[in-house]
Amino acid sequence: MSIPESAAPATLAGEVRRKTGLNPATCYQCGKCSAGCPMAVETSLRPHDVLRMLQFDDREQLLSSESIWLCLTCETCTARCPNSCDPARIIDCLRETALNEGAAQPPRNIRAFHNAFLKQIQRSGRLFEMGLIMSYKMRSGALFADVMAAPGMLGRGKLALAPSRIQGLEEIRRIFDACTRHESDSTSTTTAQQNPGTEGAENA
């Protein structure tokens, strides 16, 4: 769905609308999303709060909030929204926007996980779980978490010892480049930022 540029003013809600085709103004705050949200007990902003703040264009607080990074994308909110607002997709869009603008403040471990995960794909095209765990530990500082699990995993034959590298690795790297470029282009056209993060995913 494309929204005419004139209908999308330079508000965060307008930006979300342009990027996703979803209109945050359609949320009428019934709270059904938050009632079913499995993370609502841990987040300061619940899904309907996020939608409300978009309506008020509370840009700074939203993009720097930890809560958007605690969404598991279980999609319960989206499945139950009576007005098809799709909070899960909107939260994804906010995370990406926050990264591109350098405003993102995810918890350290979650940032480390996304970063380690995507690095693995760039390195071999597939996820090498042992590599993911090591890389995640280095990035998060959670060096000793789950160390006792390694022998159990290995004994059950559940950890591959070497990464399997795909043939089309160059292709995967080109996909990462193209997607990073695409997102930073689309950010720069709306926020008029001089130098948006060119490595959005990379900086996660």
């Binding site: 598991l72 994308t73 319960t76 950890l159």
Partner: protein, 299 residues
Amino acid sequence: MKIGYFPGCSLHATAREYAESLGVITGPLDVEINEIDDWACCGATSAHATNHLLGVALPARTLALAAEQGHEQILAPCAACYSRLAAARRAVDNDPATGAAVEKAIGRSVGTARPISLVRLLAELAPKVREKAKRPLEDIKVACYYGCLLVRPPELNDLDDVEAPTMMETVVKATGAKPVSWNRRLDCCGGGFSLSRTSSVVRLSRTILEDARGAGADVLVVACPMCHSNLDFRQKAIARRSEGGMDIPVIYLSQLVGLALGQDHVALGLGRHFVSTASFISRIPGPREGESAAATEVG
């Protein structure tokens, strides 16, 4: 029936037993699965949470490869992989601008291959499962756990209903086992936070396990490696904070089907779980008299 196969990263490592059990049951069910050559990771949550186009382009490349390799359907046993392939399919089909950006990014035409989850495939094969079942599982009470990504978001739902799906129960009934009625079968287990926010996973998965136990389930059946890891591997940590312990075996739907087909539990990878399946397996009677045991066929 011939079908493309996208194992995804987990089935090559932590969910090895899911792949093993799948390999054992496809033959008796007359399904031929062909692994897509040179597939890459779907990007899972880390891609879609940080870069929308990346989260669509990575699985779209796999859709393109499948089509190039002559497949109309791709079996994605992992619920997360299924969900990402379905999201890519939908984005390309319904949004020309995204479709164009994706094809530019992957340098290929996406083609028309469609993903299918293992739950749907087995539900469609349920009559055959019933017909080929060699070992009655009549006394086994099963909690069918769907989790999130097989049913949500609604537009990617591969099953029959978003809030009240029945397909796993259909498969379980075909094996002869009894699905129990319980409340938490569509709840989230904490998914991708297994490493990065374990406390949330423990909180969410505990509720699921306790509910399954309360409903009298002997075993919890899943169709997602992440759910499996959170409910099986993390069960020890969960039990520490739960009265009366846990000790509920968590197995893949394909393993339950394999047991009903009379396959050997070692070949089905039932020895690879963290919560022992031994006592559960010992309750299953041997193959029906007068029928050759498939277990001997696979050695």
